[in-house]
Symmetry: C2
Subunit: 350 residues, 2 copies
DNA sequence: AGACCTTATGAATACGTAGTCATAGTGTCA
DNA sequence: TGACACTATGACTACGTATTCATAAGGTCT
C-alpha cells in the first residue's frame, strides 16, 4: 500500500493520454494542489513563487507533460514574441538575409514567421495575412513592396521596418546599406585603376535600389568624364545576367568595365562573358554588389561591395523592437558597405 | 441633418484610433447592429449568413478597419494554420528547401514558423520552443536532430515529418531523396566512363545521409572491383571542401575520380583542386550531390544528383497535413533523384 | 504588543474568437 | 391549415493563460 507513489496523478495521466488532450495549467494546478494562477506564475515569473511551491509545480508539470500554450499566452498578454518577415521566395541575397534574421531573432528568443511571395502581386496577400497574426513586428524586405502598401503599414499599429528598401524612407523606419556611396566607391576603384569606358547592368530598372545604385555609379564616373549606359537584365538572377552578357558581347564597342547591380546577376554576367570568349579581367573588368558568400569562392573571386548583413540585420531588429510610440519620424539607418577586391578587377597588364 | 452618413460610427472610429486598440468582432457587431456570432460567421463561414447581412457586416468591418485575430481564432479552433520548420541556419541546400516549403505552404494558405539553429546543441531549445506554439505540424530538417529528440516528437501529439533524414525512418514519418541509389547511380556513371580508382569526400561522417550516400558509392564501385576510401571534410561548406581538396592534392597517388557527398562541398573541392593545379575533368573527374542551382552555373557545371526539391517538399507537406490518427506505422517516402551530367565528368581524352 | 510592511497565494476576470444550442421566421407538403 | 423542415440569427460558453485584487501568513520595528 505504501509503495504507491501518486495514485490519482497517474490516473490523471492515463486519462489525459487517452483523451489525447494536452495538459493545461489547470490540470497542473489540480495535480500539484495549488491554484491555476500559481502555475502560471511558475512559468512566467518564477521569482514570485516560493521555492517549495515552485518545485512542487514543476514536478507536477513534468509528470503531466505540461507545456505552456503560447497561443493562449499571446491572446492574454497581447504580445506574440513573433516577428514576421515579408520576403521574396527566391534569390541568394534574400535567403542569406533571412537566415541571419532567423539567427539573431532566435538569440533574442523571438520566432520568425515567414511570409514569402513568388510574384510581386502576391505581396498584397502576404500583407493581409500578416495583419491577422498580431505580430510584435514585421520586416518588409524586397523592394517590390509598393508605396501604397507601405502607407497602409504605416497606418496600422504594427511596428515595421523596411530592409534595404530605400523607397520606404519617410514612410516606414528603414535600414539599408549605403547603396549610392557603395556603388560610387566601386566606380571610383575602377577610375583609380584607369578604366576609361564603362556600362552598368541592373536587374529591374523600376526597383529603387537599382536606381540608386546606378545613380551612384553614374555620378562618380561622370565626375571623371566617363559615360555609363544602363542595361537592364530583367531579373535578379544568374540566368538574366548570363543572357545580358551574351547580348553585350555581340556589340562591337565593348566597354572596359561592367558594373553589375547585384552579385547573383554578376555571376551570370561573368560566365556569360567567358562563354562568349570575353575573358575577365583580361578583356573586361567586372564588379558586383551585395557580397554574397559565392563572391569569395575562388571560382568567381568577384570584386563587389560587401554588405555587413549581420550589422544590417542587428540594426533592423533594434529599430523594430524598440519602436516606442514616441517616434515622431521614422528612423532611417544607413550602414556603409566595404569593397571586396577580387580578381575581376585585377588588371593583368599592370 | 439628413446628410450625415453614420453618426455614431465615425465617433466609434475616432475613439478606437485614439485608444489605439484594434477593432474586434464585438465592435463590428455593434457598428453593424448584429451579434458577434454573426460577425464571426461572416469571416469564417460566409455562406451561413444572408447576403444582405453579410454585406452590412463587411462594410462595417471595413469602416472600423477590422481584421480577424488569428491568435484568438487559433485558441478557440485549436488549429493555427502554421507549420513549424526546424532547420539549420546556414547551408545552400537548406535555404533552398526552406524557400520551397514556404512557397508551397503559402499556396495552401499555411504560414511557416522558422526555428533555425546554428549549432546542433541548439536543436533542443528549438524543439522545446516548437512545443509551445500549438502548430499544425512541424518539419524536422537537418540530420543533426538526434534519435532521442525524434523519440520525444513521436510521443507528442504534434504531427511531424522528417525531411531528408533517413535515420528518422520508423520513428517519425519521413520524406527523403533516394540517397543510396542516387549515389550508386553516380558511381555507375563513373564506372561506365572507365574510371578505375576513386575516393569519396563526405561532410560529417556521423551524419546518416553521409553514411548512406557513402554506402551507395562503395557498394556500386565494389561490384566493379574499385575501392573507395572515405575522406571527411568536417563540415558541409565550401571552405571544408576547398581544404580537403588541398590535402588530397598533396597525395602522390591521385584517384581518377572523386565523389563528393554534397554540392556545396563539391564546389570547394573543385576550386581547391584547380588551385592546387589539378584540372577537372582533365586530371580528375568530380561528382556532387543535391543539385543546387549553382551546379548548373556555367562556372561549375557539376555532374551531380539532382533532388526534385519541389516534389520532395510537396510529399512532405502531404504527409504532414494528412496525418490522420489512423496511421499505424509512420510513412516513409523515398523520392528518386536524377543525374545531371556536367563537364566535371566529361572525359577529355574520350 | 500593536502597527506596519512584505511575501505567497487564491479567486475572479479578460483577451477575441468559434461553435453549440435555442429561437424566430419562412416556406413546403399533404 | 397544421405539421414539418430549413434558414438566419442571437445568447452563451469555452479555448488556456496572465494579471489584478484581496487575503492570509509571517516578519520587523519601536
Amino acid at each position: 500500500m505504501g509503495a504507491k507513489p501518486e495514485g490519482p496523478s497517474s490516473a490523471e495521466v492515463r486519462n489525459r493520454q487517452q483523451s489525447n488532450r494536452r495538459a493545461t495549467s489547470v490540470d497542473v494546478a489540480a495535480e500539484s494542489g495549488v491554484s491555476q494562477a500559481t502555475v502560471a506564475r511558475v512559468f512566467s515569473s518564477p521569482d514570485k513563487v516560493s521555492p517549495a511551491t515552485r518545485e512542487k509545480v514543476r514536478s507536477a508539470a513534468e509528470r503531466l507533460g505540461y507545456v505552456p500554450n503560447a497561443i493562449a499566452r499571446s491572446l492574454k498578454s497581447q504580445r506574440t514574441n513573433i516577428v514576421g518577415a515579408v520576403v521574396p521566395a527566391y534569390g541568394e541575397y534574400w535567403q542569406n538575409v533571412l537566415a541571419e534574421f532567423s539567427r539573431q531573432l532566435a538569440q533574442r528568443s523571438y520566432q520568425l514567421l515567414l511570409f514569402s511571395f513568388a510574384k510581386p502581386d502576391d505581396v498584397d496577400g502576404a500583407l493581409s495575412s500578416v495583419a491577422q497574426y498580431r505580430l510584435d513586428g514585421v520586416i518588409l524586405a524586397s523592394a517590390t513592396i509598393g508605396q501604397s502598401q507601405l502607407g497602409r503599414m504605416q497606418s496600422s499599429a504594427l511596428p515595421a521596418v523596411a530592409f534595404n528598401q530605400p523607397a520606404a524612407e519617410g514612410l516606414v523606419p528603414s535600414v539599408s546599406v549605403d547603396n549610392e556611396v557603395g556603388m560610387a566607391e566601386l566606380a571610383r576603384h575602377l577610375v583609380d585603376i584607369g578604366v576609361g569606358t564603362a556600362a552598368y547592368i541592373g536587374g529591374v530598372s523600376s526597383v529603387s535600389t537599382d536606381q540608386i545604385r546606378y545613380r551612384g555609379a553614374v555620378q562618380e564616373l561622370a565626375e571623371h568624364g566617363i559615360a555609363c549606359p544602363y542595361i537592364e537584365a530583367g531579373a535578379y538572377t544568374y540566368d538574366a545576367g548570363y543572357k545580358a552578357a551574351g547580348q553585350l558581347a555581340q556589340r562591337d564597342n565593348l566597354p572596359e568595365a561592367v558594373m553589375v547591380g547585384s552579385d547573383e546577376v554578376a555571376f551570370g554576367v561573368l560566365d556569360g562573358l567567358e562563354n562568349a570568349g570575353i575573358s575577365v579581367p583580361r578583356d573586361l573588368l567586372l564588379t558586383g554588389f551585395d557580397g554574397l558568400p559565392q563572391a569569395s569562392w575562388a571560382g568567381y573571386d568577384l570584386t563587389t561591395l560587401v554588405q555587413a548583413t549581420d550589422v544590417l540585420v542587428a540594426q533592423a531588429i533594434d529599430v523594430l523592437l524598440s519602436t516606442n510610440g514616441a517616434a515622431d519620424k521614422p528612423a532611417s539607418v544607413v550602414v556603409p558597405g566595404t569593397i571586396r577586391y577580387g580578381r575581376t578587377t585585377r588588371k593583368s597588364d599592370a
